[in-house]
């Protein structure tokens, strides 16, 4: 089992460790619900060092990525970042990732831990002259600091979402990425592996609550961020998943023809968000009456109800539509809701 540089900190803090994508990772410290609430109300910190980091460099790095990724990378400049999809010929999703533009000839892409090998092989095989893809995942630790007070707790300057810059936290040099997976203000701090423990301790000393993968999942599901392997896969396409906004169909990239066809014809089924109307917790794989399936489900700590996402026939996908979910043999009522499921009260 792989371990991040922060593994010893998790053990010392009494975290419950579980296998995740080949890594031994903390699923919770004090508990999923208090950790979730800390992020919604104040500030939490997550070890996400298991995620993969690739450098894509060279005079044709941008051209390579434009041909492999769904979003239009020309829309961002140096110091900016973009959520985008690595697609296959069928319009399926090899991985969803964030591309950070360092300069016109150097991009950093951060991929899911579970897809690190697949995404790397996919990109490496398709390198073009003047471009090189390098897996640097083992050189970096990544720590996500998320929550309404995260930036002030870190004494970082304000910055727009989806930007990045070099910075420091208590003397530790970090790449400060204004990205995250919780729907809250925050950043993801990337540092050299050997600085990870000092960075973690500095962030915790500044009042961030250590959070595990359990809260990471409930937080992302409340705001309907898809999880690769659950909501999106090599067999699901971006249009059906509601990720058409990440697809620049005016350019050519792998699978673009197929995605244009799906968009033209309209998807047969759509990834919807729903809230349970009865006391029950939906889970991945549960059937939805009428030919659908739950792809992610949990108990929402903010709503105190079962919530989830799943594919349903397009005709049943409108907000307000009632669904019946087969929860271990019992039909339980749910209602389709607009995404995100949880929205901060302004």
């Amino acid at each position: 089992m792989l371990q991040t540089p922060l593994h010893g900190r998790h053990v010392a803090a009494g975290a419950r460790l579980v296998p995740f994508a080949g890594w031994e990772m903390p699923v919770q410290y004090e508990g999923v619900i208090p950790e979730h609430r800390a992020v919604r109300r104040d500030c939490g910190v997550f070890d996400v060092s298991h995620m993969g980091q690739f450098h894509v460099e060279g005079p044709n790095a941008g051209e390579l990525l434009q041909s492999l990724l769904s979003n239009d990378l020309d829309k961002i400049g140096d110091g900016e970042a973009q959520y985008t999809l690595l697609t296959n010929e069928r319009g399926g999703i090899v991985d969803d990732l964030i591309a950070y533009r360092i300069d016109p000839y150097h991009f950093l892409v951060v991929v899911n831990a579970g897809n690190r090998d697949a995404a790397y092989a996919w990109m490496k095989e398709r390198e073009i002259r003047g471009s090189e893809v390098r897996d640097a995942s083992d050189e970096y630790a990544l720590v996500a600091v998320q929550g309404p007070r995260s930036i002030e707790r870190l004494s970082l300057p304000g910055a727009k979402p989806f930007t990045h810059a070099m910075g420091e936290v208590d003397g530790i040099e970090v790449m400060v990425n204004r990205t995250g997976y919780t729907g809250e203000l925050g950043c993801e701090l990337m540092c050299a592996d050997e600085d990870a423990v000092a960075l973690w301790e500095a962030v915790v000393a500044r009042g961030a609550v250590p959070c595990g993968l359990g809260a990471r999942d409930t937080l992302r599901l409340e705001v309907c961020y898809p999880l690769h392997g659950n909501d999106i896969t090599q067999e699901t396409d971006a249009i059906s998943a509601g990720l058409g906004w990440t697809c620049a169909l005016g350019k050519d990239f792998t699978g673009a023809d197929r995605l244009r066809e799906i968009k033209e014809a309209g998807p047969e089924r759509t990834l919807v968000a729903f809230v349970m109307e009865e006391k029950a917790v939906p889970r991945q794989g549960m059937p939805i009456a009428g030919g659908g399936e739950v792809t992610s489900g949990t108990h929402s700590p903010m709503l105190d109800k079962g919530i989830g996402m799943g594919y349903v026939p397009a005709a049943a996908a409108g907000p307000g539509n009632e669904l019946q979910i087969d929860v271990r043999g019992k039909d339980r009522g749910a209602t389709v809701v607009p995404k995100p499921i949880y929205k901060r009260e302004e």
């Binding site: 359990g214 917790v281 700590p301």
Partner: protein, 130 residues
């Protein structure tokens, strides 16, 4: 707030991490501290119907945390007299005190089954061997 680890004397324990408090021909049943700790914060209790029956070593309901769902195993057989509505309404009651947060009360149909349950010391020993 979660309770501290505890296995009260006077209760009888089942190896599937359930407890029973025997009073005459009735028993109150719940899950042990170990079981609630392994599950994490409970968010749902799917109770059986009152008036139905529970069979020793078989599931009579489900308890569910954010991350996982688990069958609740009956430590003894009996007629289900009462479901703890407080736990249905507020499942975290079980985390706060797994012995106050009982799940069902039954009338025993085979009181001799009690002999197969562990006492607190034997259950603690069983946990230590896991």
């Amino acid at each position: 707030m979660a309770a501290a680890e505890d296995y009260p004397e006077g209760l009888r324990y089942h190896r599937d991490h359930d407890w029973a408090r025997i009073e005459g021909d009735e028993a109150t049943c719940g899950i042990t501290w170990f079981a609630q700790d392994a599950l994490g914060e409970l968010v749902h209790f799917e109770p059986p119907a009152e008036g139905g029956s529970a069979a020793k070593d078989s599931s009579y309901g489900e308890v569910e945390s954010v991350k996982a769902v688990s069958d609740v195993i009956a430590p003894l057989s009996g007629e289900i007299l009462e479901v703890n509505q407080k736990v249905v309404d507020a499942p975290e009651t079980v985390n706060e005190d797994p012995y106050e947060g009982w799940l069902i009360r039954i009338r025993l149909t085979d009181p001799a089954e009690v002999d197969s349950l562990l006492d607190a010391d034997a259950y603690k020993q069983f946990l230590a061997e896991q």
